[in-house]
């Protein structure tokens, strides 16, 4: 089993740190470039969402905690934050069949996360938002 954890602040500049972390984890675990990119993308989407929406009107010290665990081919990503209660899974799935002029510009992030990961679950625990995601890694 391999595991990595890190804490991030609510600053978009943290996104490049996330990319570095995904890359180092992927290299250490000998994951394919496609899998590393998929993991990077999921971390990016989830953490960007928290940074942009999780701390509106928040008075405390923002903290986003990431834990990533690989057991065999089973990857678990846990993202916790101490911001306001915010369930990103409540966002309606985007309608991908409407023409450009009618297409809303938002809602793609969580759609990407749901598409990349096998399962995504939200919970509010002890004043924290907890997003738990699982994916079976492809070694091909």
């Amino acid at each position: 089993m391999a595991s990595v954890s890190a804490v991030f602040s609510n600053d978009r500049a943290e996104i490049s740190r996330l990319a570095g972390l995904a890359e180092r984890f992927g290299q250490a675990q000998q994951l394919s470039d496609d899998e590393v990119m998929a993991i990077n993308l999921v971390l990016d989407e989830v953490v960007t969402n928290v940074i942009d929406y999780g701390f509106e009107g928040f008075a405390g010290t923002p903290e986003i905690r990431l834990t990533m665990t690989l057991e065999g081919d089973e990857l678990t990503i846990l993202v916790e934050d101490n911001g306001r209660a915010f369930d990103p899974l409540q966002a309606a799935a985007p309608d991908l069949d409407v023409p450009l002029e009618d297409r809303p510009v938002g809602g793609l992030g969580i759609h990407i996360v749901r598409s990349v990961m096998n399962t995504v679950e939200y919970d509010r625990r002890g004043g924290r938002n907890v997003l738990t995601m699982h994916k079976t890694i492809s070694r091909a």
């Binding site: 978009r12 500049a13 996104i15 490049s16 990319a19 496609d34 990119m37 990077n40 993308l41 990016d44 989407e45 960007t48 940074i51 942009d52 985007p94 991908l96 069949d97 023409p99 450009l100 002029e101 297409r103 510009v105 938002g106 793609l108 992030g109 759609h111 990407i112 598409s115």
Partner: protein, 112 residues
């Protein structure tokens, strides 16, 4: 993330982007694209051959640009996206609303 722009014949502008289009870097890209549109460039080739990563924030910037030029009779053509970027464009349903060309020549054809 790096960008440079060049104008070709018939007022077609090419914006070449390389690196990552994520939440941190995309605002600069979005500003550059908006700047091009505000200068009157409504036919734009967006050469993404050097972009190896795009998140939903980057995708959103592409859509915002396309939505801005469409009512002006313009068009943004995505050119030579990396296979991983193309996969994301497909996942986001962009391949049905944004023209995608494999080469610069094909992109030019689509805009002439």
């Amino acid at each position: 993330m790096e960008m440079f722009q060049s104008t070709t014949d018939a007022g077609i502008l090419t914006l070449t982007v390389s690196g990552r289009l994520d939440a941190d870097t995309t605002p600069r890209f979005g500003d550059a694209l908006n700047g091009c549109i505000e200068q009157g460039n409504h036919k734009i080739i967006l050469d993404l051959a050097g972009v190896d990563y795009i998140s939903s924030v980057g995708l959103r910037a592409l859509m915002v640009g396309a939505k801005r030029v469409a009512p002006l009779g313009g068009k943004i053509v995505i050119c030579a996206p990396h296979a991983r970027v193309l996969k994301l464009l497909e996942l986001a349903g962009f391949t049905s609303i944004l023209p995608i060309a494999a080469t610069r020549d094909e992109a030019l054809e689509r805009l002439r």
